[in-house]
Symmetry: C2
Amino acid sequence: MSTRGADPGVLLTDLYQLTMLQAYFDRSMHETAVFELFVRRLPQNRNFLVAAGLEQALDYLCALRFTERDIEDARRTGLFGDEFLAWLARLKFTGDVEALPEGTVFFADEPVLRVTAPLAEAQLVESRLVNIVHFQTLIASKAARCVLAAPGKTLVDFGMRRAHGADAALHAARASYLAGFTGTSTVSAQPEFGIPIFGTMAHSFIQAHASELEAFAHFVESQRGPIVLLIDTYDTVKAAERVVEIARRLRGKTIDSVRLDSGDLAVLSREVRRIFDAEGLRDIRIFASGGLDEHSVRALVAGGAPIDGFGIGTALDVSDDCPALDCVYKLQAYAGKARRKRSTGKATWPGRKQVFRLYAHDGRFERDVLTVEGDPQRGEPLLEPVMKTGARLAAPTLADARAHAAAQLAKLPDPLRSLERAGAYTVQVADALTALTARVDEEFK
Amino acid sequence: MSTRGADPGVLLTDLYQLTMLQAYFDRSMHETAVFELFVRRLPQNRNFLVAAGLEQALDYLCALRFTERDIEDARRTGLFGDEFLAWLARLKFTGDVEALPEGTVFFADEPVLRVTAPLAEAQLVESRLVNIVHFQTLIASKAARCVLAAPGKTLVDFGMRRAHGADAALHAARASYLAGFTGTSTVSAQPEFGIPIFGTMAHSFIQAHASELEAFAHFVESQRGPIVLLIDTYDTVKAAERVVEIARRLRGKTIDSVRLDSGDLAVLSREVRRIFDAEGLRDIRIFASGGLDEHSVRALVAGGAPIDGFGIGTALDVSDDCPALDCVYKLQAYAGKARRKRSTGKATWPGRKQVFRLYAHDGRFERDVLTVEGDPQRGEPLLEPVMKTGARLAAPTLADARAHAAAQLAKLPDPLRSLERAGAYTVQVADALTALTARVDEEFK
């Protein structure tokens, strides 16, 4: 259970959840509801998405309680009756959840998570469940593109400072690691999630010393972990020569890498590599950062730049080319009857659903079939039970989820591995689901 | 002091802050450092920015401590020595801070906040200070565009679910309110910040009932606050007629508004207005939502759509057209000497600075002058002391900051009020600053 990703409380929700609950309570509408969380459309610049955030979503459901203070805050709005508030104070989440395992590749309209619970419980959790799953899925999907762009390279999340707040910073580290990053610069991600952490030095360190050479020497002397020297503060090539000077006099310690953070990284990395190699310093690695994203990393890798690792910051942590997904949580059944929303441009498929994945002979994904639960279909069913009557079932570790994500990326058909828009992957809607939809539309007019 | 916006702990930082601190400790580099936080370049689609997040930044500095658990977590990385960790355990923030008051309009290169403190303290806080101030400034700047696009309209933050995590959701509500929004749907923003909260109903509420009419009647009966009915679940025009039916039989209660969430809002709002007006229901207001941003809101307002208020969600809470600013925190002086970074494309102006704002005859902003502190210039100095030797000075309330933001927006020159890119506002670099820069470059080569 997360501790530093501190609990923002059950009132971190939309007001309408509580006003609807008051209405459900007033009329004892406590029959079972089924909600599914999914993404309505893939963004233009994503060929697939990677499910993430389930672990924190289940933490949230397990811990869901109105504290005395929450009840008092709700009372003070003047919007709720006393009996209702007394009932809220006893509310727990007692439902079932099925979900895609974290790290699973998925597509539009496919349920990522399903909640089956008494109506009020299932409704209340909408806003925060979307808030949790949307963000980590967004970042894991962006990170997977970086991983595909730089096979075999060290990739480190550098985005903490420009992530949207504390929670985003910590969970961007988790989601990117899950998707295949090597680690993060965010310190708390290590105690919280066991994620490897990486550090270098800032320009201010160089600037606080009388000279760059003195700064390097001082840093090398004080460090107990891998030594990474930042060499672009004044003049990158001169700084590389200073690194050689330092490396020559070193006894018992080695310089792990240098970091380039500005300028033409393709040109500078070659010059620096040449300087080091000429001095026999072949083991000093070159690490690059500074406004990088999957496109610039791919260009550097494709151009053969001798860069061993990349720090990816802002572009990753805010998913800069696509900072939100059309991620929703919709009522699919109530009191045993399938339901759906028909609003213009926002219609959804009704009922409890399952996704089956079919594989080609080479083991790659071939197509998916979206159908109603129980419809016998060939292929691998993707949704699995993860919570039963409010209790979590055995959960994969973050390492398991990371391995699963890697296996999923390995099974992507080649066109989907491209950073450019590929033809859409086929998600076939089964006849059983089309038939159910027609029946529901007949019933609710 | 914020309580629900829970403290993520001092280890929510970049690892290099701690490894640099170890080096500073080893060599007793504890002289005074000056860092300034600023935005290097305005994004293409922003004519100005609105400072926000100072309150939470100062909360962070006041509360800054390494707990026993933080020290233990740091020790376990194996990167730090015992004496250093013992010193960290006693560390507090003892510095001075000057800043732009929240709600102040500012431009590229102008300091938003300055920290003057012993080097280790001033360095350590970099990552989290940027994380806090960057996000709220990002959202306040986006929200200000919405406010300019819809003068006199009710504007409500609806973005909690797609904000990047819990912290972003809560602070997007604060930053948008500060910039002129009427309120938010995020419940916890009320107890936390006193922000007005607004609720409607979800499509699932309609769907959970046997008919839309029954759902409306039930909701009206149960609500104690303003009643807002969502009318686009099945057929918006038919639903408006059902609202009329309900309104006719109401005794002692009134329907405050209806919400349109899909379809052609310009057309539907007119049809719905006509239906209500024909029945004498002129007081029922029309509220619109569904994928709105400042551009679609401006188009609806300019086209004369009879819409009284707008819920703006995802586009606001993730600042979708610009999800990050080039916001940095740079060393400007150490041990009494001005310093600067000269990296290609990332050079900064050295030294302690002040911004002076000059006004035209009509009271609008005319131009700014960026100079070294103490340089006598005409105009209004914008940076003010907000913290002295670790203690906060009297702070404006959120209501004060909101009033200040409104006054600032009223003083924007017309070209900057456009949603389109205007010619850049003049930020003139004073001779005193140019001269200092030349001296610094001579000294640090």
